[in-house]
Symmetry: C2
Subunit: 441 residues, 2 copies
């Protein structure tokens, strides 16, 4: 690493590949890089995406290098004739690309490990522009590199990475970001804390937190990853004092959002529920109608879930609700399959059948068909059964809105949140984007 620091105040991103401009692949790399750069205090001024054409790639580089201090590109480092990044960038920089013997040998070794000889093409991947500093790629053949390109009195740096996300991400985290941070004289970076919320809409969250974080103190942003919305507080500063300010702001956020927060950090409702069940040493069974197995699928996405999740029933037909779960035909006839009464019997029935501590049930109208005036599409009843519930089971009905997929996912989130609230002794869930309509049996 050079002793001469380069001031980095702005960044630009380039994504290269025909599949991107033909709409075959969605560009997730630039989003990922932008997010990571922001955590170092750098905002991305532009993202340019071009296909595998030399003149367009050259235009993207010239434009970006003219407007930003560091330009990070992904794509175009493969072994085929369409992979043009190094050749084009070398041209723009006015240097030759030379074979890096160490990288060439590494690529040969990789193929040897797979019992194959290296195809001639792959040698191109070891071509590095003169003056470039290799960025190691532990998970693929193509090394990345960093190249400072004097332009007038400016010295922007090109950072070239492979397009495969799985390869690019560790290279960014382990080599690129630390290098950028080391170069910046502004040693401040963003320290963040993320709050996972469920129940409030994004505008309600926005209103709740209005005026809490002053622009001079930091940033507040929301990211909707249905069915949850995360609120992220970011504070700009240096280690120690910034973290202390972050703690104070976080306490204020918790005060304002209260029960809408179900977890902190990068996690999910199913992982949160799993942690609580494991801590309590309690087991769970699921009885699903409209969600069709989604609650079980989500629970089992968490490694180690076999310690608390025993299994359950997908009771998609009324026959199965009755004959396998033991829902009384009278209940089905009087209240219907989509009712708090039926949900309670499903939850109690599966708890008994599976022999778990807690049973949770969902039954509803996922749509688009199947609705009635009485129970339109999106009507969903959720119930919990447990030994510490005096009546044996409690249920509530919600009126949800959306597509079939939306309603199923939301219903599964409501069911998981009910388990969480039961374990923590919290009030029942009030949904902003779905009314609670039941009598709360």
């Amino acid at each position: 690493m050079s002793n001469e620091n380069i001031e980095i105040k702005s960044a630009a991103v380039i994504s290269t590949g025909d599949e991107l401009v033909q709409g075959r692949t969605v560009d997730t790399n630039s989003s990922y890089i932008a997010d990571k750069l922001l955590s170092t205090g750098l905002e991305v001024t532009s993202v340019i995406t071009v296909g595998d054409y030399p003149e367009r790639i050259a235009w993207a580089w010239r434009d970006s290098l003219a407007n930003a201090d560091v330009v990070i590109s992904t794509g175009g480092l493969g072994p085929t004739a369409d992979d043009l990044t190094t050749e084009t960038l070398s041209g723009v920089a006015g240097v030759e690309a030379e074979l890096d013997e160490e990288q060439a040998q590494r690529i040969r070794d990789i193929f040897a490990t797979m019992g194959r000889s290296m195809p001639e093409n792959n040698l191109r991947q070891a071509l590095i522009p003169v003056g470039g500093v290799v960025i190691p790629n532990q998970l693929g053949t193509a090394p990345g590199y960093r190249l400072t390109i004097p332009t007038g009195d400016r010295r922007p740096t090109a950072i070239v990475l492979p397009g495969v996300p799985r390869e690019m991400m560790p290279m960014l985290e382990e080599t690129v970001l630390p290098w950028i941070v080391s170069q910046r004289s502004d040693k401040r970076r963003y320290f963040a804390r993320t709050f996972q919320t469920f129940g409030l809409s994004e505008s309600a969250l926005d209103e709740s937190l209005a005026g809490l974080v002053d622009e001079s103190e930091g940033r507040l942003s929301f990211r909707a990853s249905f069915p949850q919305i995360s609120a992220r507080v970011m504070v700009l500063g240096e280690t120690g004092e910034a973290e202390s300010r972050l703690d104070k702001l976080s306490a204020k956020v918790r005060g304002r959002l209260g029960g809408a927060i179900f977890a902190e950090g990068n996690t999910t409702m199913e992982a949160t529920v799993g942690r609580l069940l494991a801590a309590d040493g309690r087991t769970l069974a699921t009885a699903e109608s409209c969600t069709g197995g989604l609650v079980g699928a989500r629970l089992t996405d968490v490694p180690g879930s076999s310690h608390y999740y025993m299994g359950g029933l997908v009771a998609y037909s009324n026959d199965v609700k009755e004959k396998v779960l033991g829902v009384s035909p009278t209940t089905l006839a009087m209240f219907g399959a989509v009712s708090e009464e039926t949900a309670c019997e499903m939850a109690a029935g599966v708890r008994r059948m599976i022999g778990a501590d807690i049973g949770v049930a969902t039954t509803g109208v996922a749509g688009p068909g199947g609705g009635s005036d009485d129970k339109p599409v999106g009507t969903v009843a959720v119930a919990i059964s447990a030994a510490d519930i005096p009546s044996g089971a409690v249920a509530t009905m919600y009126q949800l809105r959306g597509t079939r997929e939306w309603i199923k996912t939301l219903a599964s989130q409501v069911a998981l949140d009910w388990i969480r609230r039961h374990l923590l002794g919290l009030d029942p869930l009030e949904l902003q984007f779905g009314r609670r309509v039941g009598r709360g049996r």
Copy 2:
């Protein structure tokens, strides 16, 4: 619409929004637009993404208008102070923006329907640059517009759309694309057919179809949407003759890919299985261990699935496999939970328990823990039970690779494909990216 046609040979896309350059939202709009433009025969030369800064938005417009005949932008049409597209584009075009009275009234009416009065801000959304032609937005408040911007001897057209995908997509399809097609003297467009495949890797598909579609005839592209890969054949030409050429090429593709194709068009494995079950009038039950409910969740994503899917069991613990499904303790002791023997008993057991025509079962090691030398992570057994299977049930074991989520999803796809193959009387699935290791009991 002007009588004077504008020649359109190239297109560029602009995506506007802080959330995009800060990495909070992934840009799916440009991918969607690029894909749709390609079907009209237009390739996108660049996609530029910028944040909500006037000078950057202006740079993006100037650059794109200089390099393309039509520039489509999404974002920046909201009611807030950060929404800068119209103001900025008007400046670049050297015109004023004027209030469109019809659109202003429409926005007032929308709020009135919701029982609210229109916030002052929203009036900004009715500002249209002088010379602009409104593009109606049926699903939101902000109209889009088309504006031709004479630049030297060129006449590129700016097309401005809202950033909300659900609003943008119909506007693109119903107004923008037809307008573009009407302007192009080259009346050729792409006619496409999509083949959904499962079992072959992308490079194996590529090899199978090598040399089939000559560049002069059309294009062949692959899109991986795990766990399936779609192969799309596109032929450039005019209605009638191009469709006839497409039919001939499609027949060749079917000939080459054979059994790897499970459906044509934009569909899924679960929808395909559903159509076959419904056509046969047969019912299905699922017994899931490692997939945890995912097979049921996928089946029930299909509207009308209650006609053929009765439900099933998530037998996540061995206790449940034994006590609820009736898997013999001897089988579990001798062969283990992850075995073809256990899978067969699970499939037969759930068929009996639910009373369905067909039972399907999954049992495996999803990882990352739980593997052994004998049965490493990714070992999955799948079984089918049906009256027309002499022994009652058949099973095979596969060795899959990947993350927990990858293995679960792949296993669910294998299970669904087994049902499909059984209903069609096809050979068992040979997986390219997972070896078939069982004895095929």
